[in-house]
Symmetry: C2
Subunit: 229 residues, 2 copies
């Protein structure tokens, strides 16, 4: 564009690069939760220990993305939608880091769980994992596409996750009442269901941030920025 | 100051007012957790139901503070420490809202808990509550005073909270193994201990944001902003 200054072009490149890093972080967090659930189902002690050892790569990206957001805010003083994207990335960055932590929490509970005989075949818990991961993936896709209906679909799945969590709790309670040996491992499965619910919560936060970015753009197009500001 | 423009003065007033609102929100969140713990200990069904009904005031403040941060970023394009404070407030705002949610979660678990006879006198759980609330209060005090040592003291308390959580778990496990009637209510106490641990986590996040604000100011005073940027 003829009127584009060097600074604007540079800002655009920086912002695109930042978005890519944030999506890389999203993929790392997603992979970590997926691996944690696989390790639990397969009772893979080595993989569980690896995941429980922490998420240095995610923590590193978390710091980098925060720093880059701050730099871009300080150096370019972006306006309107660019500012919204940056503020949203600061928040999404926090959510993705927490998802990485939750994968660690799942692995910690799994490490305890596999020291006991299996309480039952795990079916609903992996299903919760699949739903939570699908929510996260769709939220990040919506961030890329700016598709509000995709983001809204994420919000709708929260109830499914909540329903499964309650169902898992009631079922495990029956096992615990029937056999005291199953109390301790069942509690770890209950905790894991809570961790997965929270992965879903963070995916919901990401989806809400996408709606915040896009709706503001729509409102601006209607010539009335104050309704959202 | 003679060289101060109207805009700068106006920005300063707006930022002060925003900080006050954030601290009000912090006090609301703190009160909510304190009330939730009191309602649990006193088995006060009415108070529990009130808290579980949600935190409309906190949610309203959450939206208002987010909007005001965004407006200030967009209208004044603040630099350096002012920018850091605003970015920190965006994050702290999210943490305080989650603390309000955790008070609701504590009340939800308490509502189930008091439908059973007491598992045991509650001593360590209220102690966890006191520590988590003290962490939050100190983190918010550190925000006001900019005292890094106060913020660092918050980080140190995280281990105490973790130790109490493990102790509570082991004790409740003994009760559950001895009497199946105690399984269901004990699980709610375990969940409440986890919620309190997370209140502490969010207080830790606030303390870290305070360190981020203050350390950057120190670094700037040393004339080397790039080490932190």
């Amino acid at each position: 564009m003829a009127g584009m200054t060097f600074d604007t072009r540079h800002f655009g490149e920086e912002l695109d690069s930042l978005k890519r890093r944030m999506l890389e972080m999203g993929t790392l967090a997603e992979d970590k939760v997926r691996l944690a659930m696989r390790a639990l189902v397969q009772r893979d002690q080595k993989l569980i220990a690896e995941i429980a050892a922490g998420d240095a790569a995610i923590n590193q990206l978390h710091l980098e993305i925060d720093d880059r957001c701050f730099k871009l805010l300080a150096l370019y003083q972006p306006m309107a939608v660019d500012l919204r994207v940056l503020v949203a990335i600061v928040k999404i960055n926090g959510d993705l880091e927490r998802i990485g932590d939750l994968a660690v929490n799942i692995a910690e509970a799994s490490a305890r769980y596999i020291t006991h005989p299996p309480v039952k075949p795990l079916i609903d818990l992996p299903r919760m994992g699949d739903i939570a991961l699908r929510m996260l993936k769709r939220a990040l896709d919506a961030f890329v596409s700016g598709d509000v209906s995709e983001a809204q679909a994420v919000l709708a799945e929260d109830d499914t996750l909540d329903g499964l969590k309650s169902q898992i709790f009631r079922e495990l309670l029956t096992y615990m009442l029937g056999d005291p040996q199953k109390i301790e491992p069942s509690i770890d499965l209950i905790l894991i269901s809570r961790h997965l619910e929270r992965v879903g919560d963070h995916a919901t936060n990401v989806a809400e941030d996408v709606i915040f970015i896009v709706e503001a753009r729509d409102v601006r197009h209607q010539g009335d920025p104050t309704t959202r500001l």
